[in-house]
Symmetry: C2
Subunit: 403 residues, 2 copies
C-alpha cells in the first residue's frame, strides 16, 4: 500500500500569505466601501522592459519557423545567456566565473527548494530568523527539520537577526551543515558587507558547511561597498552556492527565469556539487523555455540595463518614501535602502499581528506581520516598495494619521 | 560537515543518450564525409502552430504594458488553461474532470520526478521494462531503488514488456506501492486498451497502490478504441495520477508546458494527494510562465486543434514509413501506429548495441539501442518518426540495402 511522505503532515496548516489574504478578504467583505492599499506581498507591478519584449517577440517568431525552431534546450541553459551572465553579473564586478558553473532555471524558489535533493537528509540546516519561509518548508518536507513545536522546528538552527546585531546573524554555536543566507535580506531589507560575509565564508570553510546564498535582490544595491555576490568574498568558491533571479531584477515573477551558481571548486567529500546538480536537473528538469531565456539575455544589452535600472529606481523611490515617512511618524525603521523592503518596529512593543490588524482596520493598509517570518520577526512589520508612488504616499499619510 | 545524498553515487555513470552521442561523434569524426541520419532522440522538429505563435505574441505584448502586466501566477496554473483542459482533453472524451484537479507545470518530466516528494521513501516502485529512464533515476535519487547491480536496481519491481505479452506487462507478484505506466509507450510505441488498463486499475484499487500514468503521447492515438486517459477506465479516480504534456502534442519540447491530474477522490490513508501536491508545488515551484500558458491555451482553439493534428499526422506518416519499410526489409516491428515510436527486433537475435553500431557504421543511421531502456529492451532498437519524410525514406533505403 502506498504511503505518503509523513513530513508533509508536520507542516503548519496556514501559510503566511494565505492568512493575510484571509484577514484582508474578511475585512473588505465587511467594509466594501474601504479602499485598501496592499503593501504586503512582494510581487512586482511594472511591465517588462521594452528590450525584453522585443527579444521575446523575436524568439517567438523563431519558434514558428522550421529553420529556426528550437526543441529541447540544454538542461543547464543556453550558452548565450550563461555567457551574458558571466560577463555582466560577474566579470563586470571583478569576479571570475565560467559558463559551466551557471545553471539556468525557472526560478530561485525552485532551486532553493530542489537543491536539497543533492544533500543528505541528515544534514542540519540553519536559517536566519526571520526568514523567507521556502527554505524552512522545503527542508521540512525532505525530513531535515525535525518536529514543529508551534513556533520552531526542533532540528533547524535558527539564527536571530535583530536590531542588536544589525540583522546579520552571529555565527551559531551548533555547527550547521547547510546555511541559508539571503542579502539584501527578505524580509528585513538589510544588506551585508563584505566583512560580514567573510566571517561566514571562513566559518563554512573551517567546518565544511555549505552556504546557500540567496542573492535575489542584488539589483537593488546602490551602495558601492555592498557586495552583489558572495563570490566577491575570498574563499567563497569552496563553500558557497549562489541563487540569482530575474523576478525582482527585471520583473520576471510571472515570466520565470533564474540561475544558480555552483563553482567547480565546491566539493563535499571530494564530490563536485555542480556535477550532482547537473545530474539532478537533467533527470528532473528539462530547461527554461527558449523565448524566456532570450528575454533574460536582453536584460544585459545596454538598453536593457538602462531600462531595468529605471524600474528598480522606481521601486527604491517607493521604499524611500516608506522608510522616511514611517521614521517621521515616529517608527523605528530598517532596510529600504539597498532593498525594496522596509522593516518597521511596531509601536510600543505591540505584537506584529495586532499591528497588522490595526493597520488593516484603521489605516486600510495591508502589510506583512513580522512574526509570520519566524519568532524574531515578532514586533516588526514588512512593507514593500513594489506599489506606485501615489498609493505609497497615501498609505504613509494614513499610517501617520493613525499613529 | 555537509554530506551529499549518497544515492547519487549509486547511479550508473553513462546516460543512454550521452553514450549514443559519444559513439555517433566518434564515428562522424573518423568519417567526416558520411551524412548521418538521426532517428534516435525523441525531439520534435516541426515549428509551433501559427495559433500558438499568435497567442504568445499577444501575451508578450500584455507583459509589456502596465495595464495588462502579469506578476506571480497561480502555482497550479491559470484557470483559462485549466478550463480548456477540462473541456477539450476530458469532457470531449466523456470524462468528468474539475479545474481543481489540474496542476499546470513546466513539464511532465519534472512532474514525473517531483511527484516522489509527496510519497514515502519506503514505497516500492514498479516500472515497465523497457522504460523511460527518468522514472527509475528520479526514484533512485530519492532512495527508493536500493542498489544498482549493473543491470537492475535491487528494490525496483521490473515488469517485462515483451512480444509475448504484447508489450503490456503482467500484474507483478510482489505488490508495488507506486506503479509507473506509460501508454502509448516510450520506447515500444505500443498502446494499451481499456480492458488492459482496467486490470491495472482494479489491481491498484485492491492493493492500495497508486498508478503514475504517463500519457505524454496520447495525441498520437488514432484508433478510436484506445483510451487517451486512464480516467476513461472506471475506478481510476481512486488510484491514478495522470501526466500530460504539450511537448509531443504541440511541439513544446523547448517551450515547456505540461499538466498533472490528481483527482479529488485519490487519497492515501485519508490524505488527499492533490492537497499534498499543491503544497509541494506552492513551496518548491512558482508556476508556468504566463505567455507559455497562453500559447498552450491556443492549442484548444479550432484552428489550433487543426494545426497540431496536421503536425502529428506528419510524424505518424514518418512512423508508418519506418514501420512498413523495416517490415518489408524482413525485420519484426511493433508500435508506430498510435505512436511516433517504432520498436524493431534486431535480426538474428543480434545484441541491440551491436545492431546500433552496424546501423551507424554501415547504414549511417543513428537509432536507440533497446538495451538502454532496460534488460527487456535487449534485442530491439527504437526509431522515431520525428524526422522529415525524405530523410526517413532514405534511412529506410539504407537499412534495407544493409540487411
Amino acid at each position: 500500500m502506498a504511503e505518503i511522505n509523513q513530513n508533509f503532515q508536520k507542516l503548519p496548516g496556514s501559510y503566511l500569505f494565505a492568512e493575510i489574504a484571509r484577514r484582508t478578504a474578511a475585512y473588505q467583505a465587511a467594509n466594501p466601501d474601504k479602499k485598501l492599499i496592499k503593501m504586503g506581498i512582494g510581487d512586482v507591478t511594472r511591465p517588462l522592459a521594452p528590450s525584453v519584449i522585443r527579444a521575446m517577440h523575436k524568439a517567438v517568431d523563431e519558434m514558428g519557423s522550421a529553420d529556426t525552431f528550437m526543441g529541447y534546450g540544454p538542461y543547464e541553459g543556453y550558452d548565450f545567456l550563461r555567457d551574458a551572465i558571466v560577463q555582466h553579473d560577474y566579470a563586470a564586478r571583478g569576479v571570475t566565473m565560467s559558463r559551466e558553473e551557471i545553471f539556468v532555471s525557472d526560478g530561485a524558489k525552485s532551486d532553493c527548494g530542489n537543491i536539497g535533493d543533492i544533500f543528505s537528509v541528515n544534514n542540519v540546516v540553519a536559517v536566519c530568523d526571520p526568514v523567507y519561509p521556502v527554505y524552512v518548508d522545503a527542508n521540512a518536507m525532505a525530513g531535515r527539520a525535525g518536529e514543529y513545536d508551534g513556533e520552531k522546528w526542533t532540528n533547524i538552527v535558527y539564527m536571530p537577526c535583530t536590531a542588536e546585531n544589525g540583522f546579520v546573524p552571529a555565527l551559531p554555536e551548533r555547527v550547521p551543515d547547510l546555511i541559508y543566507l539571503c542579502f539584501p535580506n527578505n524580509p528585513t531589507g538589510m544588506a551585508a558587507t563584505k566583512d560580514q560575509l567573510k566571517l561566514w565564508v571562513d566559518y563554512a570553510n573551517e567546518h565544511g558547511s555549505v552556504i546557500l546564498y540567496d542573492s535575489a535582490y542584488e539589483a537593488f544595491i546602490r551602495d558601492p561597498e555592498i557586495p552583489h555576490s558572495i563570490y566577491e568574498v575570498p574563499g567563497a568558491r569552496t563553500c558557497a552556492i549562489e541563487f540569482r533571479s530575474y523576478s525582482k531584477t527585471a520583473g520576471f515573477t510571472g515570466t520565470r527565469c533564474a540561475y544558480t551558481i555552483i563553482p567547480k571548486e565546491l566539493k563535499v567529500n571530494g564530490v563536485s556539487l555542480a556535477e550532482l546538480w547537473l545530474r539532478r536537473q537533467s533527470t528532473k528538469y528539462n530547461g527554461c523555455p527558449y523565448m524566456i531565456q532570450r528575454g533574460a539575455e536582453a536584460i544585459y544589452t545596454p538598453e536593457g540595463q538602462q531600462e531595468v535600472r529605471e524600474t528598480i529606481d522606481y521601486y527604491l523611490n517607493n521604499a524611500a518614501i516608506i522608510r522616511e515617512g514611517l521614521a517621521k511618524a515616529g517608527l523605528t525603521v530598517y532596510g529600504g535602502v539597498n532593498s525594496p523592503y522596509v522593516w518597521a518596529a511596531t509601536p510600543d512593543g505591540m505584537g506584529s499581528w495586532d499591528f497588522f490588524d490595526r493597520l488593516l482596520q484603521e489605516g486600510n493598509v495591508v502589510t506583512t506581520p513580522g512574526a509570520g517570518f519566524g519568532p524574531s520577526g515578532e514586533g516588526y512589520i514588512r512593507l514593500t516598495g513594489f506599489g506606485d508612488p501615489e498609493n505609497t504616499k497615501e498609505a504613509i499619510r494614513r499610517i501617520t494619521r493613525m499613529l
